[in-house]
Symmetry: C2
Subunit: 248 residues, 2 copies
DNA sequence: CGAACCCTTGACAGAAATCAACTAAGGTGG
DNA sequence: CCACCTTAGTTGATTTCTGTCAAGGGTTCG
């Protein structure tokens, strides 16, 4: 593991409050590895052996069934994924693949379980992390069930704009096909819908999005913190925040 | 609170491993209440004050947006709901209403948070509960994104049959309109789809479902433990289990 | 008995998936 | 350096699915 990585992990919400001894024990069993783009890191159904921490690059969480596939989330630095499976010692519900060259820390699930039995502070951090993940998926499911495709797209674009610091123009952080799958539609549909959103205050040029009429777009999207997530602190102050898609 | 209720709560996975002292403290602040059918217990967006434990009756968790509404889950005895919101001290993401006369135990969220900071065993139980809830919603979302309406219905019926002890015939545990909303479709659509499933080995008469050709239905549903949930132990032995829809 | 309400059915309109063709961009290898 | 191949994205035509609106039968409950 690289020298700068340990403190970076240590500062994650999940690890920042635990005892130093617990952290050191956890890190003794952990190791880092760099993977090329497009590599399948884990496959759904496999037993959960390691908690994964993304240090660099993007990782897609996706699910398959009956030959179909859909994107569930994208994890960016510094985020973790498949915590729940590790805790339950249960098979992964999702697969993970690198979208680009990625550096990942792997922490043995057994160490994880052993330590939160002994370190209450760590247990509390795990609780908070899990509760956050849970709420993120609930919001995702709400969006799928309550909003139409166009509304989901509009909300997503508005959200990205807010996360980028309330800027009117930004670049999509992922490929459109992936975005389509994440939003629960086909690439063709996303393409057409994006064009049709021209009339709702959005211009799209390649991967660049320009919000030309925020009020009109907002009227369609009807953003709601109970679906889109809470407004990040400092967003109003123009502080740029990473467009993290947490759900792991 | 009634005399038989305390030990019942004590035996819940969430409370069975905690220190006796912690449990007593938690129960001191708790109180029970009986609500009539159709009552809105909590509204999404409200601050999370109490963890709810269902002792009797059914409670629907649902979500609203833009005048639309959908069912997210049904909680039955003895199950809890909105644990995550209580932990994060965040607004509820879902509303809850009684489907029938229901008896509910209310546990102050602040007590909850205070106690798992002191009682590691309880913290571990909360972790396991949350991880389970998280995985339940992920499975729900997977079903919505990967399966068509007919496939979701077929899977649901097959699942209910298994939970009832692998019986070929059973009664739907909820109203069809609610089931439709839970499965992500309109009541009209469910009605039509159920009729069309006649050709796939299912007969429906009112709320009674008869699986006439399990192989054929299974070929459509393609049940998968990574979506439908793990097979309950003892199911093969014919042990009847309650058709619990946990997700809270 | 009447008033809701659930469920069903039909007709229709709108949305989305599918199939197919085409463009454009990026990377590979000659 | 260029020809070639692969892949993302777009667009169009078509079909399938789904939601909406409307009406009617049946049940429950006050």
């Amino acid at each position: 593991m690289r020298p700068h990585e340990l403190p970076e992990i240590r500062h994650l919400p999940l690890f920042r409050d635990m005892l130093q001894g617990s952290f050191e024990t956890l890190m003794q069993g952990a190791y880092a590895q760099t993977f090329p783009a497009g590599l399948e890191l884990i496959r759904q159904g496999d037993p959960a052996d390691f908690l994964h921490v993304v240090m660099e690059g993007q990782v897609e969480l996706h699910a398959q069934w009956a030959g179909r596939e859909c994107t569930m989330a994208v994890v960016r630095p510094v985020g973790t994924f498949i915590l729940a499976a590790c805790i339950r010692d249960a098979p992964y519900l999702m697969s993970a693949r690198t979208l680009e060259r990625a550096r990942i820390i792997l922490i043995p699930a057994s160490d994880l379980r052993a330590i939160f039995h002994r370190d209450t502070e760590f247990a509390v951090s795990v609780i908070n992390e899990l509760a956050g993940c849970y709420r993120a998926v609930v919001r995702h499911a709400k969006g799928l069930k309550l909003r139409t495709s166009r509304e989901r797209i509009a909300s997503y674009l508005l959200r990205q704009s807010v996360l980028a610091g309330n800027v009117p123009s930004f670049v999509l952080p992922v490929e459109k096909r992936l975005l389509a799958s994440y939003l629960g539609m086909t690439p063709e549909n996303l393409s057409r819908a994006l064009k049709s959103l021209d009339a709702e205050g959005v211009r799209v040029d390649g991967s660049r999005v320009i919000i030309t009429d925020r009020a009109k777009l907002s009227a369609l999207a009807r953003p709601d913190p109970l679906i889109d997530g809470p407004d990040p602190e400092g967003a109003s102050a123009g502080v740029a925040l990473p467009p993290v898609g947490r759900l792991g």
